[in-house]
């Protein structure tokens, strides 16, 4: 197994141009990921024609570095300004922003950088060792399994709404209704589109997310613009020490394994992986660990998981030629243009290129860690820029980010509407993250439930006679019940 990796590394090391492209790719990936509204898919699609004339190795060095870098980059803005740069970083805002607010942005960024890098490396190792087996396993996922997986993902809403589960669930249901806007995925009948063509494929996700996170944050900063000059105290540039690193290492490894597995299931990507890992880390919290207030494990879990999903997503892509998400769809295009046909034969007939892909992903994740750690000093500088300047800049970026996703002014107004909704919810102490989770998973749950009904002629026994489905549904029930118990204990603790 690892001799393959060595061969790949050798072939990568023999070409210095590959190195330069990877560094360029990682840096631009991080930048694009950090900017709200710009996604890795967009960056890769734009770079794809550039790679037409390149050798396969060089083309993948560029595309894969951008992919890995962008998933990590999203956490930087999540930590610094509470605005996830990519959907995958939405779960990082909980503890990352809280820790930065306590004056320890450097620690938060270092945790996210190390977790992302290690998570990515672990997933590549998994990709090398068990890709074919895992790929076969994911084929067993039919509609009932996807439905159960989506329900489990949705049950995490209960776990992330720590203050008030009822309000969290209400936000989740609201998000599910928002997700139902557009053409019904099964019968192709429009729902709640008010005759607007723009709404036929639903509310676009990126404008919605920019609206829910970036705008309310700007509005809150506006509130206190003239009130007091709170300069965050603390050693922003201090990183984590070795002892802290050791304490989060088990979380990183566990989350990376979960992330790689979820990434390997077609249709489930970094965002679901991050929420699931966060949920798991929180469930296993020790008594003195308070998630949501700046706990290092709360940053490590989602970040390790979302970067691990990159290696996971490559598994069905390379061994089944099935792209699990939009990022791997672009990569599939890249592979085909290079004259490579992914599928079971790729590993045997084109093993040299597969080895290079492994080596490139491994190195890209390591470079990402080094570049990220070196950059923390500059990233935290963003915190010392006065908010009178930060707010207009973030608003400009929000406008351009929501516009450019689909070259649509309509989407900019969508952002503003959700900005207002997000601000009102913030004021009423309703958390907005359930909406993000619901919009991602709602269509998956509904489509697959209805598809399963058709598959089994209306017989609902698929809910209890398929092992994988049962496991996920049981996990979902367990998550909700244990969150309810925790909330009761928490309330009792407060009243005492």
């Amino acid at each position: 197994m690892f001799s393959n990796l060595m061969q790949g590394l050798m072939s990568v090391f023999s070409n210095p141009m590959v190195f330069l492209l990877m560094i360029f790719g990682v840096v631009s990936g991080i930048t694009i990921g950090a900017l709200p509204g710009l996604t890795s898919t967009m960056a890769m699609a734009v770079l794809l024609p550039v790679t037409f004339g390149m050798e396969a190795k060089m083309s993948f060095a560029l595309l894969l570095s951008v992919y890995c870098g962008a998933i990590y980059g999203g956490s930087i803005t999540a930590i610094l300004i509470n605005t996830p740069g990519t959907p995958s970083a939405a779960a990082t805002t909980f503890d990352g922003y809280a820790l930065a607010q306590r004056g320890q942005a450097g620690k938060a960024l270092a945790t996210s950088t190390l977790s992302s890098s290690i998570g990515g490396v672990i997933s590549v190792l998994l990709l090398i060792t068990i890709a074919p087996i895992l790929a076969k396993f994911t084929l067993r996922f039919a509609a009932p399994e996807f439905f159960a997986l989506a329900v489990f993902g949705l049950s995490i809403i209960a776990s992330i709404s720590n203050k008030n589960i009822v309000k969290g669930l209400m936000a989740g249901f609201f998000g599910l209704i928002i997700a139902s806007i557009g053409l019904d995925p099964i019968s192709a009948i429009p729902r709640f589109t008010f005759g607007r063509t723009e709404l036929l494929s639903g509310v676009a996700f990126i404008p919605l997310m920019v609206g829910l996170f970036a705008l309310p944050q700007c509005f809150v900063e506006m509130e206190s613009m003239f009130k007091e000059k709170t300069i965050l105290k603390g050693v922003h540039s201090k990183l984590i020490n070795f002892k802290e690193f050791l304490s989060i290492l088990p979380t990183i490894i566990k989350s990376a394994l979960m992330g790689a597995f979820i990434g390997a299931v077609p249709g489930a990507g970094g965002d679901i992986a991050a929420f699931t890992a966060y949920n798991e880390a929180k469930r296993n919290a020790k008594k003195d660990e308070r998630f949501g207030t700046g706990e290092l494990k709360g940053i490590a879990a989602p970040e390790a998981a979302n970067n691990a999903s990159t290696g996971g997503a490559m598994i069905p892509l390379l061994s089944l030629a099935v792209p699990g998400d939009s990022n791997t769809a672009v990569l599939l295009g890249g592979l085909i243009i290079m004259g490579l046909q992914p599928g079971p034969l790729l590993f045997t007939q084109q093993s040299d290129i597969v080895n290079s892909i492994f080596a490139i992903m491994l190195l890209a994740n390591i470079f990402m860690g080094i570049i990220g750690l070196a950059g923390i000093r500059f990233f935290v500088k963003a915190l010392s820029v006065p908010k009178q300047i930060i707010v207009p800049v973030v608003l400009t970026l929000s406008v351009v980010g929501s516009y450019s996703m689909n070259n649509s002014i309509f989407d900019v107004f969508v952002t503003i509407v959700f900005g207002i909704i997000g601000y009102l919810m913030l004021k009423a102490d309703v958390i907005v993250s359930p909406i993000v989770l619901a919009v991602i998973l709602g269509p998956m749950a509904e489509t697959n439930y209805r598809r399963a009904l058709i598959m089994f002629d209306g017989d609902m026994s698929f809910l209890y006679n398929r092992p994988i489905t049962v496991v996920f549904l049981a996990l979902a029930i367990f998550t909700i019940v244990s969150s309810l118990f925790k909330q009761k204990l928490f309330k009792r603790g407060v009243s005492r």
Binding site: P49, F52, A143, A188, L200, L320, M338
Partner: protein, 306 residues
Amino acid sequence: MRKLLVLFICLALVSVSVFASGAQESAFPERNIQIIVPYAAGGGTDAVARAIAQFAEPHLGQPITIINKTGGGGAVGWAEAAKARPDGYTLTMFAPNIVNLSIMNLSPVGYKEFEPILMFNNDPGTIVVAKKNANLDVVEMLNDDSYKSGGENPNFYLLTIQAQTGVIHQDIPYGGAAERVPAVLGGHVDFAIVNVGEAKGQIDAGELIPLAVMSEKRLDAVPNVPTLKELGIDAQMGSWRGLAAPKGTPKEVIAILEDAFTKAANEQGFKDFMKKAAFNIDFKSSADFWTFMEEQDVATTKMLSK
């Protein structure tokens, strides 16, 4: 006073006509051209658009920008393109939905709101089954309603076949080929109809078996696979892509564009790209493309009215 007014109007008319003829004389194109792609960056239509843009730039002497404007299965991008000034500087990519959506009342604009320029490819539907069903007789399968299909809703490929056989299969709705291929591989459905390019890796590895193609002639990519027509079911349907400009674009401009894009499409580099990506080249000139879409329109309308 009146004379003055007449004089003024005359002057205005003269200046307008001079201006207009001046504008005509200056060679099209003078500035960059936009192609609105109604599907996401990274998809098949987007890939074809970006590739043809790259090869057409030297022939037009102006840069070409790709704008992805997704939504409503293409309706959003086409609505935008139809509204654009008909001056040849805004073009759009066509796909079967330009015909289908307006029949189903899901799009405010149809192909009649555009002037076709050139069609690039037409990938016929290919019936695939999992390895364990390799020995199935395809005609038997299509005539037996106990086999389940996985397809998009509405599944035009299957509807075309059903129009010939009269047998209604249960069709479980799936999204794109990325969902249909694993459904066949995992045995969740018995067969699916995809484009060869979308399943090439699995076909080469023998995991998916192509049983028949829905085209006039056999495909170069899978020469051993018979057409449905050979087997006695005359059902043809494919997924095609082309280029079009908003209605009202001057004839001369269309001619310049058609000429430039035809030259670009015939370059070896573009053909190589299409071959690598397993797109089945089927160039159709502006006039032929129009006739082709009219035929599609009639056939689909008939199919959906049943």
